[in-house]
C-alpha cells in the first residue's frame, strides 16, 4: 500500500470511529451521568440517519422527500426527531427501574426497523435511500474525506464541550446525585424524573446527529445496511472500556474499540472467501468475549470514573 493509500484509509477509519465517538458521548450522557439503560441505540441512530437523509434530499419518486434542506438543518432535524422519540419512550418507562427502560428501548428499536422496512412511501423500504447529499460535495477533490473528518471532529468537540459544561453545572450535579442516591435528591424536593428525562432526551439528540453524520458520509442507508444489535453493542463496549461517566474516556474508548473491531476484520479476512459468514460470526464472538473479560476483570474501564468537582466551574 502506498503512503497516500494508508493515509486515505486512516481518514476513513477515523471518520467511522468518530461517528461512534459521538454515539458513545451520547450514551455516556444517558448511562454514565444519569444511570439510564438504553440498548436501543440503533433505533435512535436509524431515526437520525433517515430524518437527515429525507430532509436534505431533492424530490424522489421512491420515498418521502423533496425538502432539499441544507446539511446543517438535516442534522438538527435528526437530533430533534430522535429526542422526540426518546421523550415518548421515556414517558412510561423513565420513572420505573432501569431494566424497564432497557426492554422498552429494544422494543422501540425493533419497531423502528419494522417501520423502515414496511413503510416504503416514507423510506423506500428494504431498497433503502441512496444518493444522500454530502455537504459541499465536489469542493475538495480527493481530500473530501479529510473535510468530512473535520466536520465529525467539530461535532465531537461541540458535544464534548457541552457535556462537560452541563455536568459541571448545578444541573449536572443534581444528575450525579440522583445516580448516587435518588431518595436524598427527592427529599430535597427535586423532580428526579424530570432530570433523568432531560439526560435521556439530550443523549438521544446526540445519537440522532450521529446517525445523520453516518447517513451523509455513507450516502446510502437501508434497513439491512448495518446490524442494529451489533452497532448498539459496540457503543456499549466503547463506553465500558472508556469508563462510565467520563467524557474523555468515552472518546478514547470509541477509537480504541473501533480499532480492535477493525483489527478483527483483518484477522478474519485471512480466511478464504467461502467462509464470509463464519468470519463475521467469529468477529462478533471475539468482541463479545472481550467485553465479558473486561466486565469481569476491569469493570471501571481504562480511565475509570472521572472525579468531578462538587463546585461548579462557574463558582470557581
Amino acid at each position: 500500500m502506498t503512503f497516500a493509500g494508508v493515509f486515505s484509509y486512516l481518514v476513513f477509519f477515523l471518520i467511522f470511529a468518530g461517528i461512534y465517538a459521538v454515539m458513545t458521548l451520547a450514551l455516556n450522557m444517558q448511562r454514565g451521568f444519569a444511570g439510564l439503560f438504553n440498548i436501543g441505540i440503533a433505533g435512535f441512530w436509524a431515526v437520525g440517519a433517515y430524518t437527515s437523509a429525507i430532509m436534505t434530499k431533492g424530490p424522489s419518486p421512491d420515498h418521502l422527500g423533496g425538502f432539499g434542506m441544507p446539511f446543517i438543518i438535516g442534522l438538527l432535524a435528526a437530533g430533534i426527531i430522535s429526542s422526540l422519540l426518546a421523550f415518548l419512550v421515556g414517558i412510561p418507562t423513565i420513572r420505573l427501574r432501569e431494566d424497564y427502560l432497557g426492554i422498552a428501548t429494544i422494543g422501540i428499536a425493533e419497531i423502528i426497523r419494522l417501520v423502515i422496512k414496511n413503510e416504503a412511501w416514507l423510506t423506500n423500504g428494504v431498497r433503502g435511500i441512496s444518493a444522500i447529499p454530502k455537504p459541499l460535495a465536489g469542493s475538495f477533490g480527493s481530500n473530501y474525506n479529510l473535510f468530512f473528518l473535520m466536520i465529525v471532529v467539530l461535532v465531537i468537540a461541540l458535544f464534548y464541550y457541552l457535556s462537560e459544561k452541563g455536568i459541571n453545572s448545578p444541573w449536572g450535579r443534581i444528575l450525579r446525585a440522583i445516580r448516587e442516591d435518588e431518595e436524598v435528591v427527592k427529599a430535597v424536593g427535586k423532580n428526579v424524573v424530570r432530570y433523568r428525562m432531560e439526560a435521556f432526551v439530550l443523549g438521544a439528540f446526540m445519537m440522532g446527529v450521529g446517525g445523520g453524520l453516518y447517513a451523509h458520509f455513507t450516502s446510502f442507508i437501508s434497513p439491512e445496511a448495518f446490524k442494529p444489535m451489533q452497532a448498539t453493542f459496540l457503543v456499549w463496549i466503547m463506553l465500558i472500556i472508556g469508563g462510565s461517566a467520563n467524557n474523555f474516556g468515552s472518546i478514547v474508548g470509541a477509537f480504541l474499540t473501533w480499532g480492535i473491531w477493525t483489527g478483527t476484520e483483518f484477522l478474519t479476512g485471512m480466511l478464504p472467501a467461502a467462509y464470509t459468514t463464519q468470519a463475521a460470526a467469529i468477529r462478533v464472538i471475539l468482541i463479545g468475549v472481550f467485553l465479558e473479560i473486561i466486565l469481569l476483570n476491569r469493570p471501571e474501564g481504562l480511565f475509570g470514573e472521572k472525579k468531578y468537582s462538587s463546585v461548579s466551574t462557574a463558582d470557581r
Binding site: 412510561p92 426492554i103 451489533q230 453493542f233 459468514t277 460470526a281 462478533v284 467485553l291 466486565l295 469481569l296
Partner: protein, 286 residues
C-alpha cells in the same frame, strides 16, 4: 377466521409461556432482565436438530438431550458470568447478558449456518375441522399437548416439592427466604437448570411448528419480556398467563393491522401495562 387465529395464538402463546416462566423466575430471584433468554431458546432448538436430524436419534430422546444440554449452558452462563457480577450494578449484569446473547447466536451461526433448517422435510396436511372452520396440523396438536404437560409439571414442581417452594419464596422475598435457611446458591443453580429446560422446550416446539433460524429466539425476546411484565416479574403463573395473552393478541391483531407489525403488539401491551400497573397482574410492587 377469528377462531383459527385464536387457535394459532394459543399455540404461539404456550411457546411464549414456556420461555417466560424461567425468565420471570430468574428476574424475580436474581433481579435482572436476562437478555440472553431468547438465544438460549435458539440454542435448545439447534441442539435438538443436532440429535434428531444430524445424529438420527428419535424425537423424544433428542428433546431430552437438548433440554439437558441447554440447562447445562444456562448453568454455565451463571457460573462464569452472572455469579461474579451479582454484587454490581444490575445494568452491568444485563449488558453482560446482551453479550452472552450475541455470543450464543453467533456460535449457532458458526456451527449451523444462516439457512433455515427443519426437523422433518415432509409437508404435513392439516386436519380440517367443522367444514374448514379450523385447521390444525398434527405437529401443532403435539405442541399443545407437550406444552400443557410441561406447564402441569412446573406447577406440581413449584407447589409440591421443597425446591420448588424455595424458588417461589426466593422470588417473592430473597432476604426472608435466606433467614428461613434456604440454601440460596443451590436454588439459584436449580432455577437456571429449570429455565434452561423450559427455554429449550420452547425453542424446540417453535421450530417444530415452523423452522429453525439463528434469530428465532432473539425475535421472541420482546414477547417473552412482555409476558413477564404483564404477569408480574417473579410470578411463574403470571408468566404463563401473560404468554397466552401475548400470543393470542399477536395472532388476533392481524385482523386489524398488517401482519408485518405483529411484534409491535407485544410492545404495545407491555407499554400499556407499564403505564397502568407496572407491577403486572400477579406481581408485587416495583
Amino acid at each position: 377466521m377469528a377462531l383459527q387465529l385464536f387457535l394459532n395464538g394459543v399455540i404461539l402463546g404456550s411457546i411464549i409461556a414456556l420461555g417466560a416462566i424461567g425468565l420471570s423466575l430468574i428476574y424475580g430471584i436474581l433481579k435482572f432482565g436476562h437478555f440472553a433468554h431468547g438465544d438460549l431458546m435458539t440454542l435448545g432448538a439447534y441442539f435438538a436438530f443436532l440429535f434428531k436430524v444430524q445424529l438420527g436419534l428419535p424425537f423424544w430422546l433428542a428433546f431430552v438431550l437438548a433440554a439437558a444440554l441447554t440447562a447445562g449452558a444456562a448453568i454455565l452462563l451463571n457460573l462464569i458470568l452472572y455469579r461474579h457480577l451479582k454484587k454490581r450494578d444490575s445494568v452491568i449484569v444485563m449488558i453482560s447478558s446482551v453479550g452472552a446473547a450475541l455470543i450464543i447466536r453467533n456460535l449457532v451461526l458458526l456451527f449451523w449456518g444462516p439457512q433455515n433448517k427443519f426437523y422433518e422435510k415432509a409437508i404435513q396436511m392439516p386436519i380440517v375441522l367443522g367444514d374448514g372452520l379450523l385447521r390444525i396440523k398434527e405437529n401443532q396438536i403435539i405442541i399443545l399437548v407437550l406444552a400443557l404437560t410441561l406447564v402441569i409439571a412446573v406447577h406440581l414442581f413449584l407447589s409440591k416439592t421443597k425446591l420448588g417452594k424455595a424458588m417461589r419464596a426466593m422470588s417473592d422475598n430473597i432476604d426472608l427466604a435466606q433467614i428461613t435457611g434456604i440454601n440460596t446458591e443451590r436454588v439459584i443453580i436449580w432455577t437456571w437448570a429449570m429455565s434452561g429446560v423450559l427455554t429449550a422446550a420452547a425453542g424446540i416446539l417453535l421450530a417444530f411448528d415452523t423452522h429453525l433460524t439463528p434469530v428465532m429466539g432473539w425475535n421472541l425476546l420482546l414477547p417473552l419480556f412482555a409476558a413477564v411484565i404483564l404477569g408480574g416479574i417473579g410470578s411463574p403463573y403470571g408468566a404463563m398467563f401473560g404468554g397466552l395473552v401475548i400470543g393470542i393478541s399477536q395472532e388476533m391483531s392481524t385482523l386489524i393491522i398488517s401482519a408485518a407489525y405483529k411484534p409491535a403488539v407485544a410492545f404495545t401491551i407491555m407499554i400499556l401495562m407499564l403505564i397502568i400497573k407496572p407491577s403486572g397482574l400477579m406481581g408485587k410492587k416495583v
